[in-house]
């Protein structure tokens, strides 16, 4: 059975995660309920003729995938697998608004064509002229992990030797206004919106695109190995520790073998209960990392988390801005990521240095 290695990374987020090493230019914004994106110069990556029809999620996905391929020194891949919670919501909004505004007449094709969840995967394939396996998973907060799980199985079963896997989500005005009404996003004028120690419901929202070039072989540029991925639908707070211990045991590991744990704290008082118990007991002697104060919360924010975890292994350092506790390790070999949202869509991802 072949192993799965991360040989390239690409990330577009609310931080400058391109043309930088590892969050050295990161800025903490605790005054907004929505974190805006640090956009690259899209025209450096996408031809002008193609770019004019693309919403930002598509553009971010194409740039992030291009960065991952470049780092992995790959021209093309055997599969493109993406995960997204809301898909290309910006064009979906445009299309639906046009239906309402024009009394169901005069519907134009562009926003309809671009509004599907697999637009990003499709556009990347068109750009690469890659006619291989191309799939998009839409599974809430485990959309990215579903894609990652599929990719790992394909490599293990030797159905592919190189795979581009990524998580993409974008914000759109009307959807954000609905999320605010529903209380998914924190109330305005109640800042600062500090994630740690939050006593309120709702999250600070974000968007981004993160891609990984996976291969079945170690190269000079290999960043980390993906040891295991597990997805669970619904757990009680009291069940999580045992599930993590079982997950580690399957991989012949114990808590003491973990060099850092990345927890998906998002500032929602109820959702974060799942992490607080682990922070205060299970992982009390393990370096702990959080990241959604930098990325914002969105369905595929955990892909940003895996980017952070991969960078920790690549640079053998944890930037102060993502540290949850003061613990350090001499080296960071094995890293566990745990993410969930509102008690559902739990995922455990285990990576290690090679």
């Amino acid at each position: 059975m072949k192993k799965t290695y991360i040989n390239g990374l690409g990330c577009i987020s609310a931080q400058k995660t391109f043309d930088t090493v590892f969050l050295e230019e990161a800025e903490l914004n605790e005054n907004s309920t929505i974190l805006s994106l640090k956009a690259p110069v899209y025209k450096d990556f996408i031809p002008p003729v193609a770019i004019r029809r693309m919403a930002k999620g598509v553009k971010n996905g194409i740039v992030a995938s291009a960065l991952a391929l470049k780092e992995a020194q790959l021209e093309t891949v055997d599969a493109i697998i993406t995960g997204t919670g809301m898909g290309c919501i910006e064009d979906s909004e445009k299309f639906l608004k046009a239906i309402l505004d024009n009394d169901e007449q005069f519907l134009t094709p562009t926003s309809f064509i671009q509004s599907t969840h697999n637009t990003v995967g499709g556009q990347i394939a068109l750009g690469l002229q890659c006619k291989a396996y191309n799939l998009t998973y839409v599974n809430g907060s485990v959309s990215f992990e579903s894609a990652l799980f599929d990719a790992k199985m394909m490599i293990e079963e030797e159905e592919a030797s190189s795979i581009l896997v990524g998580g993409i989500d974008e914000m759109a005005d009307y959807t954000m206004s609905l999320f605010k009404l529903a209380g998914f996003i924190k109330k305005e004028n109640q800042g600062p919106y500090s994630i740690l120690g939050s006593t309120t419901k709702g999250v600070v929202f974000g968007e981004g695109a993160t891609f990984f070039a996976l291969e079945n072989q170690i190269k000079n540029n290999t960043i980390a190995e993906i040891l295991d991925v597990e997805i669970l639908n619904k757990l009680n707070v009291s069940e999580v520790e045992n599930k993590i211990l079982s997950f580690l045991a399957v991989n012949s590991l114990e808590i003491s073998d973990i060099d850092a744990v990345l927890l998906g704290y998002n500032g929602d008082v109820d959702s974060d209960l799942y992490y607080k118990n682990l922070s205060n007991t299970t992982f009390i002697n393990v370096p702990q990392v959080y990241y959604k104060h930098l990325s914002g919360e969105y369905d595929t924010a955990s892909a940003f988390g895996l980017w952070v975890g991969s960078k920790i292994i690549q640079t053998q350092s944890i930037p102060d801005i993502v540290k949850l506790n003061a613990l350090d390790k001499q080296s960071y070999k094995t890293i566990l990521l745990y993410n969930q949202r509102n008690g559902i869509d739990h995922s455990f991802t285990l990576i290690s240095s090679c």
């Binding site: 002008p48 003729v49 004019r52 029809r53 005069f106 519907l107 134009t108 094709p109 064509i113």
Partner: protein, 85 residues
């Protein structure tokens, strides 16, 4: 007619999201498709919808489009003759 041409250029830039093109960059007799502005078949659909929505012109025969959408000059001429709003 001149005002209609300027209006068309502005609408085409907006509807087709031609970010890097200004009204002054489009000459009245420039080819809209192919070597000129480089528009494609999806743009043609957008233009057909625009004719219907903004000028009340329904293109029944798609073959007509090739002549009508040749340039701003030909579009403006056709709209001036056939518009109902």
């Amino acid at each position: 007619m001149e005002a209609l041409k300027q209006e068309l250029k502005s609408k085409i830039i907006e509807v087709l999201n031609l970010e890097d093109i200004a009204i002054a960059d489009i000459n009245d007799d420039d080819a809209l498709f192919g070597d000129g502005l480089g528009l494609d078949s999806i743009d043609a659909l957008e233009l057909i919808v625009m004719l219907d929505k903004d000028y009340g012109i329904k293109l029944v025969d798609p073959k007509e489009g090739k002549t009508i959408f040749k340039s701003i000059e030909t579009m403006a001429g056709y709209i001036a003759e056939n518009r109902v709003k």
